[in-house]
C-alpha cells in the first residue's frame, strides 16, 4: 500500500528541526560534555568545559544559537519505498524548510552560491541532502547542521590494503592532532572506513549523527572506537586547544565493503557542538 505525504509536511518538519538543532544539544552530547568536565585534569580545561555548559544553558533558555556558525544544513533522508510525495518538488520542499527555519530562528546564513564567486545566498540554502531508499513507508529525516571550523580540518586518505588497521589508526590520530585548537575541541570524530572515495566520506559524516555513547555492533570496530578515544585523549590538546585530557568526546566509526585494491578512510571532525536531530514522518 502506497502512503502519500504532502511535501508541506517535509518543509514544516525541517523548519522546526533547524531551530531545535541549533538551540539544544542532544542528551548524549550534554552527558558527554558533563563527563569530560568531571575527568578533565587541566584547571583551564575544566573552566572552559564549565563555560561550555553555561553556554548551552543560555542558548536553550534564550533561543540563541549554541554557536554562531549554525552550519551548512546537512540532511539525511531515508525514504521508504512505499512512499509517494505530492504537492510539489521534494528537494525544493526541503530547501524551503531550511529557508524558513534559518529565517524564523535567527540562525546565521553561511552559504555562498558558488565556491569561487562566493556570493551569500542570504537564506542558507541549498542544503546538502543525502537520499536513500529503504523498505517500508516511513520517512526518516536526520538534520545535522555542520560548522566549518571543524569541517575544514577533516581529511580523506586512500590507504593501501597493506596499511591495515595500523594505517587506519595512524590517520585518525594524525587528523585529530592536526585539527588541534582550530576545530573547537573537545571534538567528536566521525570515521568512514571502506566503500570508495565518496562512500567513505558520507559514512564519516553519518557516524557523527550516531549517539556518542553508542558503539559499533562489530566487535573489532567497537574496540577500535574505544582505543582511538583513549589515544586521541592522550594528545594533550584539551578543551579549546589550551591543553588537557579532554580532546575528543567520542570516536564513531562506520565501515562498508571495499575494493580488493583499496582501503579508503575518511575522518570527519566535528566540534563539541555536534548537532543532530531525527524525526520520523
Amino acid at each position: 500500500m502506497i502512503r502519500t505525504i504532502d511535501v508541506c509536511t517535509v518543509t514544516e518538519t525541517i523548519k522546526e528541526m533547524c531551530m531545535e538543532a541549533n538551540y539544544y544539544l542532544s542528551e548524549d552530547m550534554k552527558l558527554a560534555l558533563q563527563e569530560s568536565a568531571g575527568t578533565e585534569k587541566s584547571e583551564i580545561g575544566k573552566k572552559i568545559l564549565n563555560q561550555l555548559e553555561e553556554n548551552l544553558k543560555i542558548a536553550g533558555e534564550e533561543k540563541i544559537p549554541i554557536c554562531q556558525d549554525t552550519g551548512m544544513a546537512v540532511i539525511f533522508m531515508e525514504i521508504g519505498q512505499d512512499t509517494h510525495f505530492e504537492g510539489g518538488d521534494l528537494e525544493e520542499a526541503v530547501n524551503e524548510g531550511v529557508r524558513k527555519g534559518y529565517d524564523l530562528g535567527y540562525l546565521r546564513k553561511s552559504v555562498v552560491n558558488d565556491p569561487i564567486l562566493r556570493e551569500n545566498t542570504k537564506d542558507n540554502t541549498p542544503a546538502v541532502i543525502h537520499y536513500s531508499i529503504v523498505s517500508g513507508s516511513q520517512v526518516k529525516i536526520t538534520f545535522a547542521p555542520k560548522g566549518f571550523g571543524s569541517e575544514n580540518m577533516s581529511r580523506i586518505y586512500m590507504l593501501k590494503p597493506s596499511d591495515g588497521i595500523e594505517g587506519v589508526k595512524n590517520v585518525i590520530i594524525k587528523t585529530v592532532d592536526e585539527a588541534g585548537p582550530n576545530a573547537c575541541p573537545p571534538m567528536v570524530v566521525g570515521v568512514g572506513i571502506g566503500g570508495d572515495f565518496e562512500k567513505a566520506a558520507i559514512m564519516a559524516k553519518q557516524a557523527l549523527t550516531r549517539d556518542v555513547n553508542k558503539h559499533s555492533d562489530i566487535p573489532y570496530v567497537c574496540d577500535l572506537e574505544k582505543e582511538m578515544f583513549e589515544e586521541a585523549n592522550r594528545l594533550g590538546i584539551g578543551p579549546g586547544g589550551l591543553g588537557g585530557t579532554s580532546t575528543v568526546l567520542a570516536v564513531n566509526i562506520n565501515t562498508y565493503p571495499t575494493h580488493i585494491a583499496g582501503l579508503p578512510v575518511a575522518v570527519n571532525i566535528c566540534c563539541h557542538v555536534n548537532r543532530h536531530v531525527v524525526k520520523i514522518l
Partner: protein
C-alpha cells in the same frame, strides 16, 4: 593571571600581556572575517583608504547570527583565525594591535606581530551564546551586503579572552598541549 584592559590597545598595553594571561576587554572592537578581509586587501591594492581606522585597534574574527528583538547581537563566538593569515601582516603594519580568534597562526603572522608589538587572543570556540552577553552594542560599519561578514563596530564589557601569542611570540598552544601529551 587576570588582566582588565580598555581599548584602544597601545604598545604599552600589549607589552604587559603575556601568553597564558586571562584578559577582559572593555571598549570598542571591530568584527571582520574572510570576505571583509579580502575586501580590505583589495581596497589597499587600489591605494584607497580603509573604511576603519586600524591604529591600536582590535579585530575580532567573528560573523554573528542575527539578533533577536531587543538584543544587540545573536550568537557571537570566534572563527578560525588561520584563514585571515594571508591578510593579517598587512593590517598589523597599519596599526592593528590585537586579533581575537581561535586556532593556530602562521609564522608570517607571528613575525609580523613581534615586529608590530601586537597580540593574538583566543576566545572560547563554540561559546557564542555566552560571549554575546559581553557585547552591549553592535552596528554595521561597512560591507553590509556581505551579511554576517560585514564589518561591525562592537561595544564590549569585560569580553573574556586568553593571550595565546604575546608580542614576544610566546605561543600558549605549543606549551599547553605538551604538558598533557602522553
Amino acid at each position: 593571571m587576570d588582566k582588565y584592559i580598555t581599548t584602544p590597545i597601545t604598545e604599552e598595553i600589549t607589552a604587559d600581556l603575556k601568553s597564558g594571561d586571562f584578559v577582559y576587554i572593555t571598549g570598542t572592537i571591530y568584527s571582520a572575517r574572510d570576505a571583509a578581509h579580502k575586501r580590505m586587501a583589495e581596497t589597499l591594492e587600489r591605494n584607497e583608504k580603509l573604511p576603519i581606522d586600524l591604529k591600536d585597534s582590535v579585530i575580532y574574527y567573528m560573523g554573528p547570527s542575527p539578533a533577536r528583538e531587543g538584543r544587540p547581537i545573536g550568537s557571537a563566538g570566534p572563527t578560525t583565525a588561520s584563514r585571515m593569515d594571508k591578510y593579517a601582516p598587512t593590517l598589523l603594519d597599519l596599526g592593528e594591535k590585537a586579533m581575537i580568534g581561535k586556532g593556530k597562526r602562521s609564522k608570517e603572522v607571528i613575525d609580523s606581530m613581534i615586529k608590530n608589538h601586537a597580540v593574538y587572543f583566543a576566545a572560547i570556540g563554540g561559546a557564542g551564546a555566552l560571549l554575546s552577553k559581553c557585547i552591549i552594542n553592535s552596528e554595521v560599519v561597512c560591507y553590509d551586503d556581505l551579511g554576517t561578514e560585514a564589518i561591525r563596530k562592537l561595544e564590549v564589557i569585560n569580553f573574556p579572552v586568553i593571550v595565546v601569542i604575546d608580542s614576544k611570540g610566546n605561543n600558549l598552544y605549543d606549551s599547553s598541549a605538551e604538558e598533557y601529551r602522553r
